[in-house]
Symmetry: C2
Subunit: 629 residues, 2 copies
């Protein structure tokens, strides 16, 4: 890294045209505000199709936005019906046993599992955008409901109130989801990173398995029960084995029921489901509880379960859409989920979502549209109207086994290992969530996961990297000398790249760190007897923005540097940064001629002035200043 | 921005050496962890002076670290003493009336104001690093104490308990400050941005003024009283007027007392201070309250007042150190503040800090070292021992006037205007804090200020800018086409720069946004009949880091782009990004030959392949895919 290899570039600027760094023309505040709002809330520009359309067409497009079924139903063909029928019956065979199992997980009457696979899928088929999502209850949400409502109300002592609170929580979950979708605040779920969800789901699955084990072994239930569900990655399941896993739950139910029926095991202590009421969903709109103190619990439960269910559902929808090459509008999906849950809360259903496992089955079974959900709903309807007596003898242990089998699929240790290999911080997030859920409860796990994730973002801004750049041989390119060991230090010039915006959170740190870079460089030059430092070039390419604290920092840095008889030079400041520096009169203060378009230009300008080497003796004078008390 | 001006660069890579982008060699995790910890906690490398020193010297250096007086006292000269004497007496003349006033603001016995100007400055003189800071009570903290403790305990009904709680809060403030300093967590105060503090202080000053007005006009006190203090900027006061403002409080006290004494106004309803006990600070270590429920209030009050006082004190210290060209270690200062308050809490003092106004007076009066604080403390000691009867007749209205005069100086509307001009978001932070304090209370104002500030950081990462780059004429440089209108679009190539790290918070957004860029570009090319899009180059210069969500996003983006028969190219990925992409096998997937050191190299490589223009008809085939339901 010695400077013997450094060749001074010629002053000629012919091949870069000596472009000047300009201050961008001022933009009216409202215009840039409008732009920022659009980027935040409408990054995918969903209203693009509405442009230049007559009013009647706009009305139809609007209706189609909220009810996508109006868009694809006219193009529905018999071919699709065949595929959707098979897929629908397949997921129904999962939905029925799983629905009953998860309802018990939520300490709710098992029939609710069937109700929840009837109305919500119908609503989703009308309003949802995914062609592959299979709607139903999810283990995580069921566990969360049991846990959070269970803190307030004991399901055994007060089952009616507990039931009504579950409906109320579902209602608020729906309202929250729909609101987020309508207000286009969907990006909030982006703050739940994949790593956090892997840990979170794995932790809940662990807890559920342990809980079910206790049930299977006849031990008392856990008092804390947190339940996490689907993994967010596209699984690469072998399609042939998938039929086995798809049929397994229903088969176990049938075999188990037969066994109990034939041996009359229920009279010998084996617990069974028992009586399941016939008939469709009763209305429950009058059951919603809006009084304190329960209202707050219901709201809290609704919001947390709503967010988690939604995050999963949207990720699942997006994964399959990516795979099949169509597009999903996340905010539109949220509205669909919200309406689904609001409708469900009024028709004796509890929280539903789009679980990954069931959607994967739907996908592998060859579904073509959301009609598969309609087929499933019809199958469940038939079950509700005629087939509920069949479940009378189903042993609970079969339900536990079904739950455990689903849960084990959720402990995604492969994803965790991948995280460990690629990005250890993400692994920490994952483990933090896991540990929080297993040893604390689900809310703690969620808080830990989100906090650690956000901390990472804050940390990136608060402690940005500063890199020393060197010249790539035979070029005007300057790169990080640690990344490219063949890059050469430029004599008399220290080139630093700052890898983050300069905000209040990192201004002090940057000032200290850059000062330290300068100190260390001066020490090095002094001890090696080379030319003293004359220029410090700050490469601002990666500085996306700057605030007033950042501008103060640059001012202070300039003062510090000036005192040491060194010149500060800026290279490649972006548009936003230039605007602010101009308004703060920093450019006047520094001098326009010391702001360059590229590091190469800056170095050339410095070298032009740098023809004699300043011996280190000249510096001694400025150092005396430091000794004055 | 047409492509008629674009000249294809020649394939010759002679002047950039066709450098390859390498994956940096793997670093042991512990080594990079150690590096990161050092950057976070020791950015200024304070232990540098300890290197290569014998053990005895290390011990002395260590002692000097905690007691800087041992370092500068041996070099103290008579010259300094002269300056410090004048400065010390000047600030004493402020400290005495202000101390009494602020103590009343805190609903504490006025004598505490004098106690607090005796012991704490002595501690600071031994342990502090600033030569200009003048220690004493501050209006903000006094107001905060009145507000927060007042919620728990009424100062009029239960004055003894209130007093003891104030000591306890001061104790915890000291412990918190010292801990932060010892654990080198000082960067936490960096999260209170200058803009937030301007608004915060202005709001509190407003509230105090209104409160005092009510007192002066004889109206009832506000129940909410929040008090914010010093402005964090170096004021450019005209030194000649400063003597007037420095002498004014004491003069008013003397005149007011004389007036009341001569007219016996205190018998006619004019409230006066009354009896002030003679004698030095009594010990209060036994008065500290460590029982619930008050303990929690004391801790909370202590932490909040401690943080605010500390943030101000360090900023003030730094400003003057910058000005006079010496260095302050923020963490060391925190330890000094902490010990000052712990000692104060045991000697009947309440929270002290380094207020800007008094330090500015100290500075302008020509102080040379912290001995000015010692002189002030001695002056206060003399007052405590002999002069307290002089304050018997001081009317309270004079104290109110003193407070108001100090507060008006804190409503820094000039700073607010500057914020509005330079950075409107900072202005919003400022106003948010102001409104929160004035219309809510201080805690709300603080929470609002910090939240909005942090939101800005999160928003920067969650909604990064993506810029389209064009070629600067006659060069290989590519810059933002909005910033440089003379930059030319490259035909068949879309070059995008991403201005932030690619994390979970922005992965979805970036994928949508980049897809939209591609859609819009393809629409534009189709309608103008030009060559279709064949390459998308992502300039990763400003992408400081990437996590697993980001890598998934790049994977998905590549799939989307591949389907459209477009090639994805990366330019200038940094060391961290390359490492992660390599571990995640993305580089294998993309192809090493599609990662270039500069955008220029990438464009040259694309052009080499791009010699025939692909007509838009070829694209139709890939679009049919989108119509499949």
């Amino acid at each position: 890294m010695g400077n013997a290899d450094y060749t001074y570039p010629s002053k000629s600027n012919a091949d870069n045209g000596a472009h000047r760094v300009a201050v961008p023309p001022p933009q009216p505040f409202l215009k840039s505000l409008k732009y920022n709002l659009k980027e935040t809330f409408f990054p995918d520009d969903p209203l693009r199709q509405f442009k230049n359309q007559p009013a009647s067409r706009k009305f139809i497009l609007g209706l189609q936005y909220f009810l996508p079924i109006l868009e694809w139903a006219p193009r529905y063909s018999f071919q699709f019906l065949k595929s959707d029928l098979i897929a629908g019956i397949t997921i129904a065979s999962l939905a029925i046993p799983q629905g009953i199992s998860y309802a018990k997980l939520a300490n709710l009457p098992p029939i609710l599992g069937l109700y929840s696979s009837f109305i919500p899928p119908l609503v989703y088929a009308m309003m949802g955008s995914s062609k592959d999502l299979a709607v139903g209850t999810v283990a995580v949400a069921s566990l969360l409901i049991a846990s959070m409502l269970g803190n307030e109300v004991n399901a055994n002592e007060n089952p009616k109130l507990y039931l009504h609170l579950a409906f109320t929580a579902t209602f608020f979950a729906g309202v929250f989801q729909a609101s987020l979708g309508l207000l286009r605040l969907g990006f909030i779920v982006d703050f739940l990173s994949h790593a956090a969800i892997v840990g979170f789901m794995g932790g809940a699955a662990t807890v559920v398995c342990l809980q079910q084990l206790k049930g299977i072994l006849g031990l008392e239930r856990f008092t804390h029960s947190t339940d996490i569900m689907s993994v967010m990655r596209s699984s690469k399941r072998k399609p042939k084995f998938f039929w086995i896993s798809a049929m397994a739950p229903l088969t176990s139910v049938i075999l188990g029921s037969l066994l109990v029926y034939l041996t009359h095991a229920e009279r010998h202590g084996v617990q069974v489901i028992g009586e399941l009421k016939k008939g469709l969903n009763p209305l429950s709109i009058t059951d919603l509880v809006f009084v304190s103190p329960y209202l707050l619990t219901a709201i809290k439960t609704g919001i947390i379960t709503g967010v988690i269910a939604m995050a999963e559902g949207i990720a699942v929808g997006r994964s399959f859409a990516m795979f099949k090459n169509y597009h999903i509008d996340g905010n539109k999906e949220m509205i669909a989920f919200g309406m689904m849950n609001i409708a469900g809360s009024c028709t004796s259903c509890y929280l539903t979502a789009g679980p990954f496992s069931r959607s994967a089955v739907n996908f592998n079974a060859g579904c073509k549209t959301a009609v598969s959900n309609i087929v499933m709903a019809l199958a469940v309807m038939i079950t509700l109207l005629f087939l509920t007596p069949l479940f009378h003898y189903t042993p609970l242990v079969v339900l536990s086994a079904i739950i455990m089998a689903a849960m084990l699929g959720l402990i995604d240790y492969e994803a965790a290992i991948h995280l460990f290999k690629v990005d250890k911080f993400d692994f920490i997030v994952c483990m933090g969530a896991y540990v929080g859920v297993v040893f604390g409860n689900i809310e703690i796990g969620l808080v830990i996961a989100v906090s650690i994730s956000l901390l990472r973002l804050l940390f990136f801004v608060a402690r940005p990297r500063t890199l020393a750049l060197g010249n790539m041989p035979n070029s005007k390119i300057y790169r990080n000398m640690e990344h490219y060991p063949n890059a050469n230090q430029v004599p008399g010039v220290l080139i630093l790249e700052i890898d983050a915006p300069i905000y209040f959170a990192n201004s002090s740190y940057l000032r200290e760190r850059i000062t330290r870079w300068i100190d260390e460089e001066e020490d090095r030059l002094k001890s090696s007897g080379e030319c003293s430092l004359q220029y410090v070039i700050l490469d601002m390419s990666a500085v996306g923005n700057i605030d007033t604290s950042g501008i103060s920092m640059l001012d202070e840095l300039k003062k510090i540097i000036d005192r040491r008889a060194i010149k500060l030079v800026l290279a490649n400041p972006g548009a936003e940064v230039m605007k602010k520096l101009d308004k703060a009169k920093f450019i006047e203060n520094l001098g326009q001629e010391w702001i360059h378009l590229t590091v190469g230009d800056a170095v050339a300008a410095c070298n032009f002035m740098l023809h004699t080497c300043k011996p280190n003796a000249v510096k001694a004078e400025s150092e005396q200043w430091n000794n004055i008390v």
